[in-house]
Symmetry: C2
Subunit: 343 residues, 2 copies
């Protein structure tokens, strides 16, 4: 493999000039630059990244630690995330190193990777409230970006959606349609996003002068949501609308509505948040699902770029991005039924 020295010997130039010529420094003569580039091409020169990294102090690698949950099998989502991240990182000449979290202590794999001393930073996802990984990385001063947040006023770079607004938009839509009894089918409160959704829901309900007594949390999969919805629909003052934290949860809710002999949207309306995972497509629902939409895959490249910017010294304040999810009204929402429903 040709080195800078080979090129410099070939052309009778110093290594420094060759380096600068190839790296586009302004102070090198155009003729020299041309010669150097030609020779580099001819000799098949490829910079030795290891040497570059030794001198720049960067490893050129960032870590992603994937948590393997025994119950869930990886869906296409994971590959989308992977594709997005590697694409974004490749554009900045950085590699993605993968490790596997096998359950134990959440920070253990991060500690291991840090001690190996080969990573410039991390990409974190699926934060829980006051995530211990976040605390650990902050303490060790290891750069990272978070997809989502783990607290209300985070001192680190993140890329998230406005989860309060997600819930509020859903409530506003349903409120304007005349619904008074609106239920929330939320995820696990250990996730910060679930907290935010709940808060947004409560505030919006308050603005509409509605009582927010129909709240179910800790729903993980569709069948949880199914059970929760069934129970809520059995109440004397049952909901006429559901706000769901995800499309899989909405799927469970829709099943419950059907099984109760109710129609959607005539009897009950449903709004869900849609991360646009390939498995449960909102448009595949019957009727198609009204959603707040924010494709997960859209987050990957920004995340990669933000991490690189962070490493290059961009101040944290400039790396805190909150997106607004788009509200897409489809067939699963309609005007509130004229009177209460009894089953």
């Amino acid at each position: 493999m040709a080195t800078l020295k080979d090129i410099s010997a070939e052309l009778g130039l110093s290594v420094a000039t060759v380096s600068r010529a190839l790296n586009g420094f302004p102070e090198v003569n155009q003729k020299t630059r041309d010669k150097v580039q030609e020779a580099a091409e001819r000799l098949g020169y490829r910079p030795n990244r290891v040497a570059q990294r030794l001198v720049t102090g960067r490893s050129g690698m960032v870590g992603l630690i994937v948590k393997i949950k025994p119950d869930m099998s990886a869906d296409q989502t994971f590959f989308e995330v992977l594709t997005g991240l590697t694409a974004g990182l490749a554009a900045r000449d950085t590699e993605l190193v993968l490790a596997v979290d096998q359950g134990e202590d959440a920070v253990a794999p991060y500690r291991r990777m840090i001690e190996k001393n080969i990573l410039d930073g991390f990409i974190l996802n699926e934060p829980v409230v006051d995530d211990p990984r976040v605390a650990f990385l902050l303490e060790r001063k290891m750069p990272f970006v978070l997809h989502g947040t783990d607290r209300d006023d985070p001192p680190y770079p993140f890329y998230r959606i406005d989860n309060q607004k997600v819930a509020a938009d859903a409530v506003d839509l349903l409120g304007h349609l005349g619904h008074r009894r609106i239920a929330l089918i939320n995820g696990r409160l250990r996730h910060h996003y679930a907290h935010e959704r709940l808060e947004g829901f409560l505030k919006a309900m308050g603005r509409h002068g509605l009582s927010a007594d129909l709240v179910s949390t800790e729903n993980v999969v569709g069948s949880d949501a199914y059970m929760s919805a069934l129970e809520l629909l059995g109440l004397p003052d049952a909901p006429t609308a559901f706000v769901c934290a995800s499309t899989p949860l909405a799927d469970g809710v829709c099943r419950a509505i059907r099984d109760k002999g109710l129609r959607m949207p005539e009897d009950v309306s449903v709004v869900a948040h849609d991360d646009a995972m390939p498995l449960t497509k909102a448009v595949k629902f019957d009727p198609a699902l009204t959603v707040t939409r924010s494709p997960l895959r859209d987050a990957c490249e920004p995340l990669a770029n933000m991490l690189m910017d962070h490493l290059n010294g961009t101040p944290t304040a400039d790396l805190q991005v909150t997106l607004t999810a788009e509200l897409i009204v489809r067939g699963s929402t309609g005007p509130a039924p004229k009177r209460g429903i009894t089953v």
Copy 2:
């Protein structure tokens, strides 16, 4: 971050001695070694891998390029592979770098990674016949190990199962049970393993003096196998037994058998090869599936170790492993029915 120089300054020793002490060289005085280790501990010394790699010429990273097929969603398998590989590599202080193959030319991502000049080797899987990636890596003299083979007499390290024997064992079992009309439901012949299975099937059928005219290839998913089996079962001289290349294919075959109003194993026997993927479990079949079994996840750690050995100069001949799959007889196979079946 403490360096060797810091330790050497601290103790008034030379950097060389410190390095040797920490790396367990025999020529350093025990007292010195103790002092060095204590100081390293105290100062929190971690070797700078980049520097190590610059001098040793190794990057300490190997690549895995995952091919994303738009149709299939990743099953748990991928995570098992990932877990196995990272565990095996971590034990040898090596990281796994992931890249994504987005469809284009099969060798393109390998070329990209090679030109980046940061990988010591590759792990390849799912080879096709005369795999272009293999040809490319051989030509570039880039070390790799292959899970499976892409040709009959491979000049590279591999870890595979004896696919001819897989098919032969199935045929032998069925032959001894009195079956004369045995069908093969095979995968795509572009995969070398499918070739080998076919060859083993044909040879074994020949040994039993049976005509191997019931062969279906190019079955990718269960529904393909369903159609193929349906067609074969409609023939005048229909099969009384099926040999299937995988459990998902066996699932399709079983559906076809049921839909034809036939019983398993009374009317038709089924044997499949079982890579022990979590999605389609052989024991979940009714009756449980007779299989040749060879868990995919068992291959991961050996593969990682073989690649490391390969990098360390172990001759290729010592790194060509062929395992025999275990034959597990369960309820899906029984004696051939007394007379032919007509539907």
